[in-house]
Symmetry: C2
Subunit: 205 residues, 2 copies
DNA sequence: AAATTATTTAACATTTTTGTTCAACAAATT
DNA sequence: AATTTGTTGAACAAAAATGTTAAATAATTT
């Protein structure tokens, strides 16, 4: 086999385009053109736009799944540090995949079949992660290290502040064209860590 | 004039469709059909899909603008209560417009001309609001009522946790089909208030 | 070298979506 | 009553997007 450099290239460009514009907004001819292959080549490897999209979505969900596994694989350390590590890792994951969440959320809302896919792929592993975090938190709460709290809620807080940091980034930059992304991300990550630390702090409320 | 009930109806349905599916995903014939008017009627009032979309976007940005004004018009009370009020009002606004933010963010990212529109429409008033909040916070910080902090950051925290509560709601419900939205929203709002209160609490860190 | 696989070009077919036109009719306004 | 405005239907045109085909060539594998 020729190792299909072009096929890979098509998929790469398809990812970019679908992630930016969604299924409805992306154009197959544009994908082919940007990938530097002929229009027919695209259909040679992927019969339909839908099929191409499925591959992209499949890869992205896979990636999401792996990222959950990675993000949660934290060696032994005090639970507070673990939570900090969680926030930072999740933030880092997002900084490498800034428009993945927006993409998934949109497609899942617009096209129910992909809600199913998400449910199948990403959910079981996420449930395990929540259960793990809950055990950690409960144990630490008994020692008074953190306040008693729901792991799912904490996770949602983490995801929402991190996620939103990336959602607004392009808007902020359209407002301040000279904005320093590096600095922004750095500051935001710190802010988010701080916010989550307050959240689990046992001395409050 | 006949007071254009149908024209209004078209706009209503167009809002629903564009908000759910975005510009690229929405279909003019479907809009006409759901509005209970003929296909030709749609083009009679709105020459093109783009024009129809502009009306919707215009209205939505207007609404956003007004909501900012409303959300921030808080009578005299201690600043901590003001912040709580802010969170609750913003949450309420979102509960009435659950997919507005997602819509705006998407279109603004995909179509730069609407980033301009957003900048023109919503930004000046938001800047005022941030300035107001900053003054309030600074005054309160001097009295030790809240911790010294950046108003823009606090606002971003508020928006992100509230916003995300609504983003995930449809996903959660696809996971747990029997989920009680009412209860979920109520709990989430409380959680978000709590999170923000921790954030401004002067006794932490 | 032969066979297979990858790739292009360029035309074409199909489908989907948008937009137009026109004749007729209904409703409201003057 | 006459006129303007709203409305439909149905056909049609035009544009945009997807998908197909076949012939020719290049590259790779056997």
């Amino acid at each position: 086999m020729k190792d299909n450099k072009k096929q890979k290239r098509i998929l790469e460009v398809a990812e970019e385009e679908f992630l930016m514009k969604g299924f409805a907004g992306a154009r197959t001819v544009e994908i082919a053109q940007k990938a530097g292959v002929s229009h027919s080549m695209l259909h040679y490897y992927y019969k339909t736009k839908e099929q191409l999209f499925e591959h992209v979505m499949g890869e992205k969900l896979q990636q999401l799944k792996e990222s959950v596994a990675t993000v949660f694989m934290i060696e032994d350390m005090p639970v507070v540090e673990k939570v900090v590590e969680l926030v930072v890792r999740h933030f880092e994951f997002l900084s490498e995949n800034p428009d993945l969440p927006r993409f998934i959320i949109n497609e899942v809302i617009v096209r129910p079949e992909y809600a199913e896919m998400l449910k199948r792929e990403a959910l079981p592993i996420l449930k395990d992660a929540v259960a793990w975090l809950q055990r950690e938190l409960d144990a630490a709460a008994k020692e008074g290290e953190v306040r008693t709290m729901d792991a799912a809620t904490l996770l949602m807080d983490i995801v929402s502040v991190n996620f939103f940091s990336f959602i607004v980034a392009p808007i902020l930059s359209s407002v301040k064209p000279d904005m320093d992304f590096q600095a922004y991300y750095h500051a935001r990550c710190q802010e988010n860590v701080q916010l989550i630390l307050n959240r689990i702090n046992p001395d409050i409320k």
